[in-house]
C-alpha cells in the first residue's frame, strides 16, 4: 500500500466571478517536505493557499489533508485540522498586544499537550515575541510583525504551514534571518508550502519548487536543479 501524501491538491478550480484564477491545478506535499510556489503576479499562487485554507470557495477539484477532503469546510475548521496560514501582508491585529495575537493563534491547536514546549520553541525562534508581550503589535517593525505572524501560526502546532509571500516588503538581511528561522521549522518536521516572489531564494530553500502561471503549473524544479534563466523566463512569461 503506497503511503498517501500529506496534502493533496487535485484538479483544483477557483474562480473570482468570471475570472478563472486557478484551473486544473494538481500537486502534492509529502510529510516534512518543503515546496515553493513561485511565478508572476496573478498566477493564482495566493489563491491556491486561500483555497486550501477554505478562505475562498472552490469551483471544482479536491483538496485533501491525510486523505480527508477539505473542500467546503470553514476556515476555522480547517485550522483545527492542522493547517495554519501566514497570510499575505501578515495581517496581524495591530491594536492587540503580541500576547493577544498569540492567544488567537492557539485557537487552532488540537491538543493542550506539549503547549509549554511549543511555546518555548517559538520564543527561541522569535525572541521578540516573548520579550515584548504586552506591546501593541502595530508598533513592531515589518520584520518583527512577520515573525509574530509566523509565531502565531506555529503555536497551533500545525502539520502544514502555509506562508504567503513572507519576504514582502522586508530588507534582505531580515529576509535571510527569516529563512533561517524557516529552516529551523523545517528541521522540526513541519510540512511547508511557501508562496514567494523571490524565486531564487525559494528554489534554493525548498525541496521542490512549482512555477505557476495563469492558474496552472508551468514548470517544476527540484532544489538541486540549477536555475536556468531561459527556462525560468519561458515558465514565467510563456514561450
Amino acid at each position: 500500500m503506497t503511503s498517501e501524501a500529506l496534502l493533496q491538491v487535485v484538479d483544483l478550480d477557483v474562480r473570482y466571478g468570471p475570472v478563472q484564477a486557478v484551473r486544473g491545478l494538481s500537486f502534492e506535499l509529502d510529510a516534512g517536505e518543503v515546496v515553493g510556489l513561485i511565478g508572476p503576479n496573478g498566477a493564482g499562487k495566493s489563491t491556491t493557499l486561500l483555497a486550501i485554507m477554505g478562505a475562498v470557495p472552490t469551483h471544482g477539484g479536491d483538496i485533501r489533508l491525510a486523505g480527508t477532503s477539505l473542500v467546503g469546510l470553514a476556515p476555522e475548521s480547517i485550522s483545527r485540522l492542522g493547517i495554519a496560514l501566514v497570510p499575505e501582508g501578515r495581517r496581524i491585529f495591530a491594536e492587540f498586544t503580541i500576547e493577544e495575537n498569540l492567544r488567537l493563534g492557539l485557537l487552532g491547536r488540537r491538543t493542550a499537550e506539549g503547549l509549554e514546549d511549543d511555546l518555548a520553541w517559538v520564543y527561541s525562534l522569535f525572541p521578540i515575541v516573548d520579550e515584548q508581550r504586552k506591546r501593541a503589535a502595530g508598533q513592531l517593525s515589518g520584520g518583527q510583525q512577520q515573525q509574530l505572524a509566523i509565531a502565531r501560526a506555529l503555536v497551533a502546532r500545525p502539520q502544514v504551514l502555509l506562508l504567503d509571500e513572507p519576504s514582502l516588503g522586508l530588507a534582505p538581511t531580515v529576509v535571510d534571518a527569516l529563512f533561517d528561522a524557516l529552516g529551523e521549522i523545517r528541521r522540526r518536521g513541519v510540512t511547508i508550502l511557501i508562496v514567494e516572489q523571490r524565486a531564487q531564494l525559494t528554489v534554493e530553500f525548498a525541496d521542490r519548487s512549482i512555477v505557476m502561471r495563469s492558474g496552472g503549473i508551468a514548470l517544476t524544479l527540484s532544489g538541486d536543479d540549477p536555475l536556468d534563466p531561459a527556462e525560468m523566463t519561458a515558465a514565467y512569461f510563456g514561450s
Partner: protein, 294 residues
C-alpha cells in the same frame, strides 16, 4: 442654576441608557457589519414581556424579559444569516423590513395605545440633594448603565470570547483563518446585545411606563445616530456617541424655550447633519463603504 444641574443629571441618566443601546448595536455591527434596525423591536419585546407579566413576582418578570430579549435576538441572528454576504443597501432595507414587520405585529396584538407596565414604579420617587430633586430611577439608570458598560468592557478585554469577538470585528477573515468560530462569535454578539436590550427596556419602563409598539424604535433611532456620529467601527467611540446623543437630547430639550420644544428633533438631527459633514472621522475608517466622503 439648579435647573441646569438637574438637566445634567437627567442627561447623564438618559445618556447611559442610549450608550447601552449604542453598545448593543455596535456589538453586532462589529462582528457582522450589519446595522440591525430591528434592534428596537428586541427592546419593545422585553417591554411587552414586562407588561404581560404584570402580576408576577419581580424576579420572574426580570428573568422572563431577559429570556425573551435574548431569544428574539438570537432568532434574528439566524434569520439574518444570508445577509452576511449582502450589500449594505440590502442589509439596511432587510433589517428595516423585519423591524417594520415586528412593529406591526405588535400593533396587531396590542394596538397603538400604550398600556401601563407598572414595573418598579417606586423608583420614580425622588430624594433631595440640596435644591435638586433626583429620582431614584436616575441613580439606578446611571448605576446599572455604568455597571453593564464596565461588564461588557471587561468581557471584551479579559475573556477569550471577548478576544475572539474583537478579532472578528477587526479582521473577520484572518480571525477565521486562525480558528475563530464565525457563527459562535456572531451568535454571542446577538445574545449579548439582547441582554442589553432587556436592561434598557427595564430602565425605561420605570420612567416611560406605557408599552407601545414603537417603544424600542424611539430609542434605537437616536442611538443609531449616536453610533454613526461617534464612530461605527469602534465600540468605545460608538458607545460615547450614544451617550452624547442622549445627553444632548435632554440638554437641548431643556434649553429650548417651550414653544420651540416641538422642534427638538429637528435641532437634534440638524446637529447630526452638521457633525457628519464636519467630522466624518470616526465613520468607517475601514469597512463596507470604501469612500465615505469625497
Amino acid at each position: 442654576m439648579t435647573e441646569f444641574v438637574q438637566s445634567l443629571v437627567d442627561g447623564v441618566a438618559l445618556g447611559s441608557i442610549y450608550a447601552l443601546a449604542a453598545l448593543g448595536i455596535g456589538l453586532v455591527f462589529g462582528v457582522m457589519r450589519l446595522v440591525n434596525f430591528a434592534y428596537g423591536e428586541v427592546i419593545t419585546a422585553a417591554a411587552y414581556t414586562l407588561l404581560l407579566t404584570k402580576d408576577a413576582p419581580i424576579g420572574l418578570r426580570i428573568a422572563l424579559a431577559l429570556a425573551v430579549a435574548v431569544a428574539l435576538s438570537m432568532a434574528m441572528e439566524f434569520v439574518f444569516r444570508p445577509l452576511r454576504v449582502a450589500t449594505p443597501a440590502t442589509m439596511l432595507v432587510t433589517t428595516f423590513a423585519v423591524s417594520f414587520m415586528l412593529q406591526n405585529i405588535a400593533i396587531l396584538r396590542f394596538g397603538t395605545r400604550g398600556e401601563s407596565i407598572n414595573f418598579l414604579a417606586g423608583l420614580n420617587r425622588a430624594f433631595e440633594i440640596g435644591s435638586i430633586r433626583v429620582r431614584w430611577i436616575t441613580v439606578v439608570s446611571i448605576g446599572v448603565g455604568t455597571a453593564l458598560l464596565a461588564g461588557v468592557g471587561y468581557l471584551l478585554d479579559r475573556t477569550d470570547i471577548g478576544l475572539q469577538m474583537r478579532a472578528a470585528a477587526a479582521d473577520f477573515r484572518t480571525a477565521r483563518i486562525l480558528g475563530v468560530r464565525a457563527t459562535r462569535v456572531i451568535v454571542f454578539a446577538f445574545a449579548l446585545s439582547g441582554l442589553l436590550a432587556a436592561a434598557i427596556a427595564m430602565m425605561l419602563a420605570v420612567q416611560r411606563p406605557l408599552a407601545t409598539p414603537s417603544f424600542g424604535f424611539l430609542v434605537v433611532i437616536p442611538a443609531l445616530v449616536g453610533v454613526v456620529v461617534g464612530g461605527l467601527d469602534r465600540l468605545l467611540p460608538a458607545t460615547i456617541g450614544g451617550f452624547v446623543v442622549g445627553f444632548a437630547t435632554v440638554l437641548i430639550g431643556n434649553l429650548l424655550p417651550s414653544e420651540s420644544r416641538v422642534f427638538l428633533n429637528s435641532a437634534l438631527f440638524g446637529l447630526v447633519i452638521v457633525v457628519l459633514l464636519v467630522k466624518p472621522n470616526g465613520l468607517f475608517i475601514r469597512g463596507a463603504a470604501s469612500v465615505d466622503r469625497l
